[in-house]
Symmetry: C2
Subunit: 120 residues, 2 copies
DNA sequence: TCTACTGTAATAGTATAATATTACAGTGAG
DNA sequence: CTCACTGTAATATTATACTATTACAGTAGA
């Protein structure tokens, strides 16, 4: 299974697909000039309609990350890692602010980070 | 202005309203047995339809956080701080995992936390 | 050349969120 | 009592996300 979708999330499915594929590229689980799964294959695998995957791929192409090869599939072009970094950091910043607003202590956040990254 | 809404967010407006009010209660900007703004007043202030605010208040009442007093408004009952804490920490955990997946370094996250909480 | 896969397009239908609008009933201050 | 505020309810409309389905054209391997 390439990845899964959270159908209870407020984030639209087509956005989740885009984000997961961006992650795959950053993590080099798919490399440049390689094909990603076909629209129909991925749609069946994650249990969504092919139109939804098609939308994700179309938008990723508009962002210059993948490119369609008609009749063959979509290949990976590349990704602006700095942009991905900035977007995620900004998302992170918002939730840290929100946590502070809720009177959550700094040490509680650090504990979570240590759990995930390791305490070293 | 009590608070603002991000109309570009994927999070529904009625959810954003619920979250903001929960924050206000935790931060004691509104206290127990106090009235929160009327449906119409808040709707006008944040620029949404009164039905949307009505939905938020209805759901907050179902959660036992506020209570309607017909003809008068809604008063604050109280809030389960532990539940709020757990929910936010879980949300935080997800984005930390996502950041790690994107090869963002631990120190980059710590930097953001220090910016917001102070470096002490 | 077949055939089975690709992407692409168009149409229709459903669910949800949000809006706009109107209406009605309860509350409380003057 | 009156009036201006409350909550509550119902209806219609729009936009978006998603599904279902059918269709057509390009690609590549047997």
């Amino acid at each position: 299974m390439w990845f899964t979708i959270d159908f209870h999330s407020h984030v639209p499915v087509y956005e989740q697909i885009k984000n997961k594929i961006k992650e795959k590229i950053v993590k080099k689980e798919v490399n440049e000039n390689e094909f990603i799964p076909s629209i129909r294959t991925l749609a069946k695998e994650i249990g969504v309609n092919l139109n939804t995957v098609a939308r994700s791929y179309r938008e990723l192409e508009q962002e210059g990350i993948i490119q369609s090869v008609r009749g063959s599939g979509y290949i990976v072009i590349g990704i602006d890692k700095d942009k991905i970094f900035d977007e995620k950091i900004e998302e992170f910043r918002k939730i840290v602010i929100s946590a502070k607003n809720l009177k959550i202590e700094k040490r509680d956040l650090l504990k979570v980070i240590d759990e995930i990254y390791g305490g070293e």
